[in-house]
């Protein structure tokens, strides 16, 4: 799709126009000063949530927009990390270090995603999408039914908040909205930059070639199964990171993180923002979370809107909000 003029380096600052640099500076400045702009703590929580879901939606974009694989239950891998962090902090060591639980959560996601991915990448297209549903439902069922460990429907509540610290330097616990916002912002920004670097590297080009034509990719010597598995693992790792952040921010976790409706919601954020852009899903997440916050206070029948918007998006706006940038950008060489 937008693989024209592929830059040589990931950090291609000199190639950016003045306007783009200005935009990035304003965006960064806005994100950093946000806790002081938003007086209301509720909105700061919402902003943190947007960053977390934006990261999850971006991870789905790696799978959907770059590798061309569809996962309906990507939230399951968010749930694994969220529950691992929650269970460890609640039952094993409430005073555990933030980095230890963080790594444990991501490690658990990777461990579970690897064998599942190994089975899934042997198929493509439809079968892959159907399998993500089946395995996602399997993970969801296990979490939901293992009442003795996960608390079933009620989930885990009252999870302790570890210190956000790096060496001698400490910011405070994750219970403080400011601390947790900055922590999330830094983690999400690092993930975004690394993923972007990876996606515009030759590796990203290989993934895109699989998306465009699997058969031809294999003819030129690309090991399609292996690269699909790489794409899958990157997507699941990023989703695991967002899941770990989720528990640390909320101090609680329930099966609704990984239920089928959440899976659809994540897909909608990604589509709404625009696939194949990496930044689009963050905008999608922002619009979605604000809309959900607004609509769900009006009606409990939120699913009708979710389904209807998905249908309308596919029919009339397949490139999402990011598509507007292409349509309305003047004088940009594309």
């Amino acid at each position: 799709m937008n693989n024209a003029a592929r830059p040589q380096s990931g950090f291609d600052l000199p190639r950016l126009s003045f306007g783009a640099i200005l935009g990035i500076v304003i965006l960064l400045g806005g994100l950093i000063t946000l806790p002081y702009i938003l007086a209301n703590r509720f909105y700061l929580r919402l902003a943190t949530e947007i960053l977390i879901y934006g990261l999850a939606a971006m991870s789905l974009d790696v799978l959907l927009g770059y590798t061309g694989l569809l996962s309906f239950m990507h939230v399951a891998y968010m749930g694994i990390a969220a529950y691992t962090v929650g269970l460890f902090l609640k039952f094993v060591d409430p005073a555990a270090s933030l980095w230890v639980v963080f790594l444990l959560g991501v490690f658990a996601t990777v461990t579970i995603a690897l064998p599942i991915g190994w089975v899934q990448v042997r198929t493509g297209g439809f079968a892959f999408a159907l399998l993500t549903v089946a395995f996602g439902m399997m993970l969801y069922t296990v979490v939901w039914k293992a009442r003795d460990i996960t608390g079933g429907d009620d989930g885990l509540i009252g999870i302790s908040s570890p210190q956000v610290s790096l060496g001698l330097f400490s910011l405070g616990t994750t219970r403080d909205p400011h601390t947790v916002y900055y922590f999330t912002l830094v983690v999400v920004a690092i993930c975004f930059l690394l993923t972007r670097r990876l996606m515009i590297s030759p590796f990203g080009a290989v993934l895109e070639s699989i998306r465009e034509n699997e058969e031809r990719a294999s003819f030129i010597g690309i090991h399609v199964h292996r690269y699909k598995l790489f794409g899958w693992m990157i997507a699941c790792t990023l989703c695991g990171i967002s899941g770990a952040l989720f528990t640390l921010v909320k101090c609680s976790v329930s099966p609704t993180v990984m239920d089928p409706a959440a899976g659809g919601a994540l897909l909608m954020m990604t589509l709404l923002g625009g696939i194949g852009t990496l930044w689009g899903p963050f905008i999608g997440a922002a619009v979605f979370i604000f809309a959900q916050d607004y609509i769900s206070t009006m009606t409990e029948h939120w699913m009708i809107f979710l389904g209807l918007v998905l249908v309308l998006l596919v029919l009339f706006m397949p490139k999402g909000i990011a598509g507007f940038r292409e349509r309305f950008s003047l004088g940009r060489k594309t």
Partner: protein, 292 residues
């Protein structure tokens, strides 16, 4: 306390019943995929719609058998409207979009079902001659389960007759192989696709009405059925009718036995079985699957 033999005979018939029901729904999905090249994720929602239509008709005082005929027709009407409005316009786009679109449709329909009929389960009342208990070799058995098996068998025989013995069936089989060639021969492929989609909806509708009295009618029934049907399609090989028949029975047995012996984790066993079969036989148990 029922004796062991009674329990096992009843379980066997339950397994067959679920297998037959799965086959009805999965075959519909399968022929729509085979000819229209669309995986209709709203198929489960159409099955649920069939059950709700059946419930409404019986509630209005229609005999159950009449509902069994009329409700599927209503499902066909609803399905075709959705197909013409949403699925047909994006036929030329990559398949990912159809998947997302039909997924959106299923979420929408499920939400509507919750909105109109609420989350509490509904019951389709069956006439006395269907709800009696019959004795076979001294083993008591609810007659409705036999009725379900009979309906499934009749529908499947009818479908086989249609596919193997009629001009339309021949066209459909040809279209599943090379649609362009069928089109070149002067057959209106668009019409064939509409008929096939309608046929799939009718099968889902019949499945919904006969499942209603047995499994009760609730909004989530569609997505639950759809998940089991995925397993059937993946195990049997997408697009393979014989594979689907074998896989439906296999899943019917594993799922029913799973619910009896391990209850909560029954579906986990079904998914694990699917994963094992898929990793050993990526094209389904008969190797006939057409994955794209």
């Amino acid at each position: 306390m029922p004796s062991d033999v009674t329990f096992w005979v009843q379980t066997l018939i339950n397994c067959l019943g679920l297998g037959g029901l799965l086959l009805l729904i999965a075959i519909g999905l399968n022929i729509i995929y085979g000819i229209n090249r669309v995986i209709n994720l709203a198929h489960g929602a159409l099955y649920a719609l069939g059950a709700y239509f059946g419930y409404m008709l019986v509630e209005r005082g229609l005999p159950f058998l009449a509902a069994l005929l009329i409700a599927p027709l209503l499902v066909v009407a609803a399905g075709l409207i959705l197909e013409r409005l949403t699925i047909a316009p994006i036929r030329k786009r990559p398949m990912l979009y159809t998947l997302i679109l039909t997924y959106g449709l299923s979420v929408f329909l499920e939400g509507m079902a919750k909105y109109i009929w609420g989350v509490q389960p509904r019951f389709i009342a069956t006439p006395p001659y269907l709800s009696q208990t019959i004795h076979l070799a001294g083993i008591p058995y609810p007659f409705y389960r036999f009725f379900l098996l009979m309906v499934t068998a009749v529908v499947m025989l009818g479908l086989m007759f249609l596919l193997n013995r009629t001009k339309l069936g021949m066209t459909m089989r040809a279209a599943s192989q090379i649609p362009e060639m069928v089109s070149v021969l002067g057959i209106n492929m668009n019409l064939v696709q509409i008929i096939v989609f309608g046929l799939g909806c009718a099968l889902a509708g019949i499945g919904g009405v006969i499942a209603g009295p047995l499994l009760t009618v609730y909004p989530m029934m569609g997505s639950e059925m759809l998940l089991s049907c995925f397993v059937v399609l993946v195990i049997g090989g997408l697009g393979s009718l014989r594979g689907a028949a074998i896989a439906a029975m296999l899943v019917g047995f594993v799922q029913t036995l799973g619910y009896i012996f391990i209850t909560d984790y029954a579906m986990v066993v079904v998914y694990v079985m699917m994963a094992i079969i898929l990793s050993l036989m990526p094209r389904g148990i008969l190797g006939e699957g057409k994955f794209e």
